[in-house]
Amino acid sequence: MNKRLRSDLLLLGGLAAVGLALFALLSLGRDDGVQVLVRVDGVVTQRFSLSEPRSYTIQTRDEGVNELRIDDGAVWLESANCPDCLCVKQGKIRYAGESIICLPHGVVVELSGQDELALDAVTQ
């Protein structure tokens, strides 16, 4: 019985390890973003294609400004007049499901992938 308990524990540890390894492997296979969604206070104000380079100034409440840049399949906030500029420090995002958040201005920049776009087309 003790021998079996030991194999059970080995199995448990092994499976946990394999799970973590597979998870890491699968995160590498994530999808590239397709569409950039800009939300201000929860409302979608702009949609851009991630494949077209552009600059855009997000106007928010209290004269807040976040400068958005899209280039080279990535999107980022280049500068902003929020107090801590954490949104700028979050850097570039390029995969579906990632987002940049600026709490003081209530700005969320989201990346959606091909799947969400197909879902949108169905639901709209």
Binding site: K3, S7, L11, G19, L26, G29, D31
Partner: protein, 169 residues
């Protein structure tokens, strides 16, 4: 087939169906779809340890088809089949090595069940994005398998030989 075996099959299948139904009534209990305790696996474990490999697979297959007919649809049948078959064969393989206790066998069963369902959803939804659920379902498969393993160990130990005898008199 002996009458005894027929009644054992009927009893276990009915029990599994009831547990399937009970579990289908609490879908919103967990945030991640597919995360569940797997109560029906109690019955499969009893069949596996009291009757045999073939009997466990048979009971599980009948249960899956009937519960899809009664409570589900084509999609749920595909999910249940892929989970049920993968976990069934994994548990049989592990039990045959005789190196693991009923708890280890059950852990492998719970995990392989969820793995089968993730694979099925990847095929059916045609996307890798399901992988976001992967770590949650992997962990919950291990946890559920552990709980069911402990429970079914007790049941197999305490259930009188006369109730499910595996066709032996």
């Amino acid at each position: 087939m002996k009458t005894r075996k027929v009644t054992d099959y009927a009893l276990l299948t009915t029990l599994a169906l009831i547990l399937s139904y009970v579990e289908s009534q609490v879908p919103a209990f967990f945030a991640v779809p597919g995360m569940k305790l797997g109560l029906t696996n109690l019955v499969v474990m009893v069949a596996l340890y009291r009757m045999g490999d073939r009997d466990a697979v048979t009971v599980n297959l009948i249960r899956i088809c009937l519960s899809a007919l009664l409570f589900g649809n084509g999609f749920s049948l595909a999910y249940s089949l892929s989970g049920g078959l993968l976990s069934g064969f994994t548990m049989i393989a592990l039990k045959r090595t005789e190196k693991f206790s009923i708890i280890g066998v059950s852990i492998a069963g719970g995990l392989s069940h969820n793995t089968g369902q993730i694979l099925a959803s990847m095929v059916l939804l045609g996307t890798w994005r399901v992988a976001a659920y992967f770590i949650a379902l992997w962990a919950s498969g291990i946890a559920a398998g552990l709980a069911i393993g402990v429970l079914s160990g007790e049941i197999v130990r305490r259930l009188p030989q006369s109730v499910i005898s595996g066709g032996k008199p």
